[in-house]
């Protein structure tokens, strides 16, 4: 029973991270900060949802599958965000806030 409650709490916490990611992707000012929002939802949000589901899983294989799901997503997300950031940097090395900071003398 306590495990059920803990699992539900973890899954709800994961959904909160997905909310933060979705709002961040819409509201943050440039690509690099949006990537930041994306990785939070990917890694922590899905991690918490998978952990909550794995805690209340009916079988060991289901729990292992959820762990594998998270591992695959984390590695894919790390690769994808690195590629997107590197490509954007290559095309426009000084954009958005980085350029603003440089103009201000902080960069």
């Amino acid at each position: 029973m306590a495990v059920d409650v803990l699992g539900a709490v973890l899954a709800v916490a994961g959904a909160a991270f997905f909310t933060a990611g979705a709002v961040g992707v819409l509201r943050l000012p440039d690509l690099h900060s949006r990537l930041h929002a994306l990785t939070k939802a990917d890694n922590v949000g899905l991690g918490l949802v998978a952990a909550g589901l794995a805690l209340t899983a009916g079988s060991a294989s289901e729990a292992l599958k959820l762990g594998l799901l998270w591992l695959v997503t984390v590695s894919a997300s790390a690769t994808a965000t690195y590629l997107l950031a590197a490509t954007a940097h290559e095309r426009a090395p000084r954009s958005g806030r980085a350029r603003a900071a440089e103009v201000d003398g902080a960069g």
Binding site: L26, L53, L69, A80, E90
Partner: protein, 85 residues
Amino acid sequence: MSAVALGLAGYLLVTLVPVALRALRGPTTADRVLAVTLAGTTGIAALALIGRATGVGALLDVALVLAVLAAVPVVVYTTRVVDRS
């Protein structure tokens, strides 16, 4: 747990609305690709939750396949951009 899972899955689908707005607005293609990536991850979580709520274990396998394929669009986009320049 299954009622909670179903509710959360529905809620996650609602969070796709701001993500879709970003995908529509851009402004760059990279922003759109980023939004699609987040939509994919949200879909993975929603599939796992729906699988638990309905007791259809195969949906977890669907989520796994989606997770494996999620990296492909980004790789295709970045390699095409690098090739063009």
